[in-house]
């Protein structure tokens, strides 16, 4: 090659290389410097979304009314029937808070499951736990209060028992052969999930009347309609605890992204870590699904979107996913409540209708970039 030709080629390389590289660096600068700002902005957005969610609805409540109702509620005064206070304190506020907790939980579990099976397209329902919860809940609805009542179980408890049963089955299958490898976990989870869904479908066919079928569908699509103060207790404990447990393992989660051998070489006990992650994500999923049904797409989309903004390091990704999940679900639930004047949509229907195209757009952009 002549010197001139070499020079021309070099210049061409530079021309090709530079814009791409510059864009990457810019993106990364945004990512590292602004992770804190992103968290702060999401925190503020969450507050605004919560207030909006409590104020808006079939009966709009002015801001002053929201504040005074909350103040009276916090002071422990029972709201009188038929008042604005009742709407705010007994209906909308617990529901908005439940949306925030469930959204945060789904974001966190989605992030952890994606690292657990090392696949950015995994979601919290991949490992079969939600199918168990659904079967439990649907059995309680269809077989009626008789069956559930005999065991002393409400709907949520029946769902949680179902989730535990699914967890036990997947655990038994995934641990074999020295286990909990990503492939084993996914195969066991998908297999058990399909198996349990078969029973659920059978039960849906057996549903006695339209009322029951509607109840079942609402459950399967996910809904926050059943929110009460009592419903909040379990997720209010489980979500922060789960987030803390995962944050304590954030470096190990990072190492896991590179591969099992890399993680082992960095001193991570991979089998034990997988076992712990499986337990934490399963318990959290079980809690979330038992209070709200299987709300789709949040656990898949939130980690994806957050990874694009703050990057893949779990020390930043986990808290940001929690915040974004919370904001997203509060807003989506507000839409689900208010979009149609005559009826309420199951929140899962809206997450799917909004979430699926968003996800496709994100994936498309990403493929284009690489």
């Amino acid at each position: 090659m002549t010197p001139t030709a070499a020079l021309t080629e070099k210049r061409e390389e530079e021309r090709e290389g530079t814009p791409d590289r510059r864009e990457e660096e810019r993106e990364d600068g945004v990512r590292t410097i602004r992770a804190g700002w992103v968290a702060a902005a999401l925190g503020a957005a969450l507050l605004v979304a919560l207030v909006a969610s409590v104020a808006l609805g079939s009966t709009p409540v002015p801001l002053a009314g929201v504040w005074s109702a909350v103040a009276r509620g916090v002071a422990g005064r029972e709201p009188a029937p038929g008042t604005q206070d009742l709407i705010v304190w007994q209906l909308r506020l617990p529901r908005a808070l439940l949306a925030a907790l469930v959204g945060a939980g789904l974001g966190v579990v989605g992030t952890a499951v994606q690292a657990l099976v090392r696949n950015p397209l995994a979601d919290p329902y991949l490992l079969g736990i939600s199918s168990g919860a659904s079967l439990g809940a649907v059995a309680a609805i269809v077989l009626g209060a008789g069956a559930g009542g005999a065991l002393g179980l409400g709907l949520s408890s029946a769902a949680f028992v179902g989730a535990l049963a699914a967890f036990a089955l997947v655990w038994a299958m995934a641990r074999r052969g020295g286990g909990f490898s990503p492939l084993r976990l996914v195969l066991a989870g998908v297999g058990i999930g399909q198996f349990l869904s078969g029973f659920t479908s059978y039960l849906v066919l057996q549903a006695g009347d339209e009322q029951q079928t509607r109840g079942v569908l609402f459950w399967l699509m996910g809904s926050l309609g059943g929110a009460q103060w009592a419903t909040l207790a379990l997720p209010a404990i489980a979500v922060p605890l789960g987030l803390a447990a995962l944050l304590g393992r954030a470096r190990a989660l990072n190492a896991l992204l590179m591969g099992d051998e890399t993680a082992a070489g960095l001193g991570v006990d991979v089998t034990r870590l997988r076992r712990e992650l499986f337990v934490v994500t399963s318990v959290l999923t079980g809690v979330l699904v038992s209070v709200s049904g299987a709300i789709g797409f949040v656990g898949l989309m939130v980690p994806h979107a957050c990874r694009m903004v703050v990057g893949g390091d779990h020390r930043r990704l986990l808290p940001v996913s929690a915040l974004f999940g919370a904001v997203l679900l509060v807003v989506v639930d507000l839409v689900a409540r208010t979009a149609l004047s005559d009826q309420e949509l199951p929140v899962g229907v809206v997450t799917a209708m909004v979430g699926a195209p968003t996800l496709l757009y994100l994936l498309d952009r990403r493929l284009e970039r690489s």
Binding site: E27, R31, T32, R118, G248, G265, G267, D313
Partner: protein, 261 residues
């Protein structure tokens, strides 16, 4: 610090895949593992960086039996570069290198000055300091391997263990990576596919065949036409490299060993 493997045996799902293997890398030495596919190179290395547990024999780091150390303690002494590529999880080069600090950090501990220095130093040594903010998955193969080497260096180890680090790299990047490795002057165990690379980079070679150790010693003593025919099944002449004087294996690409019989 020297590292020695003594009488190692490893079973995978009930089948003994490696047995009676003895290896040594003396202080500051690069010891190579060569052998055909499936000869047990990766399995042996995996027991050294503790992805696998041997069912007999031991690994000695200096005078310390590796099993007397916790996983974290041995990760502070031995850094591995396995044959894994990792998924695309939007990690930056710096984040990947910072993983090398994992064995030094407790849960919730933030990155401190020592970590930042170790990461910056490692990036500097592999010539990737300017790429710190780039996306790891967007790098070329050669750059990626250099970053992974930086991660291993950030671990501040006494011993480096590398499993075919030059796979899938073009020749320029192979030479670059191996030169970089020599410059580190650390005790190194490395599995290599390319015998000529092994002959010029390694101070000592161990030849594995069917899970057993067949020969050990200086490359010039080990890499004989007879051994190449027996282990790899190829005809080859071993001559002096005209530029470096290292042993140079010239393969006969027209017939396999024993074909004339």
């Amino acid at each position: 610090m020297r590292i020695a493997v003594e009488d190692l045996a490893v079973s995978l799902s009930g089948r003994e895949v490696v047995s009676g293997v003895n290896l040594l890398a003396a202080e500051g030495e690069i010891a190579g593992l060569v052998g055909p596919n499936g000869s047990g190179k990766s399995t042996v290395l995996r027991t050294v960086y503790r992805h696998l547990a041997p069912h007999a024999g031991r690994v000695l780091l200096g005078d310390t039996d590796l099993r007397s150390l916790s996983a974290v303690e041995s990760a502070r002494r031995i850094a591995a570069l396995p044959q894994e590529r990792g998924g695309d999880f939007e990690l930056t080069v710096r984040e990947v290198v910072a993983m090398g600090r994992t064995p030094y950090k407790r849960a919730f501990a933030a990155e401190d000055r020592a970590d930042a220095d170790a990461v910056a130093g490692a990036l500097e040594r592999v010539g990737m300091a300017k790429a710190a903010r780039r996306r790891f998955s967007a790098l070329s193969g050669g750059e990626r391997q250099r970053v992974l080497l930086a991660r291993a260096l950030a671990q501040d180890p006494r011993v480096l263990v590398l499993d075919e680090p030059t796979n899938h790299l073009d020749v320029r990047h192979q030479v670059e990576l191996l030169t970089l490795l020599r410059d580190q002057r650390r005790t190194t165990l490395i599995a290599l596919h390319d015998l000529n690379a092994a002959a010029s980079v390694c101070d000592r070679l161990h030849v594995l065949h069917g899970g057993r150790l067949l020969a050990s010693g200086r490359p010039r003593d080990v890499l004989t036409p007879a051994l190449l025919a027996e282990v790899f099944g190829v005809r080859a002449a071993v001559v002096d490299h005209p530029l470096t004087g290292d042993p140079l294996i010239a393969f006969d690409h027209r017939s396999v060993a024993g074909a004339e019989l």
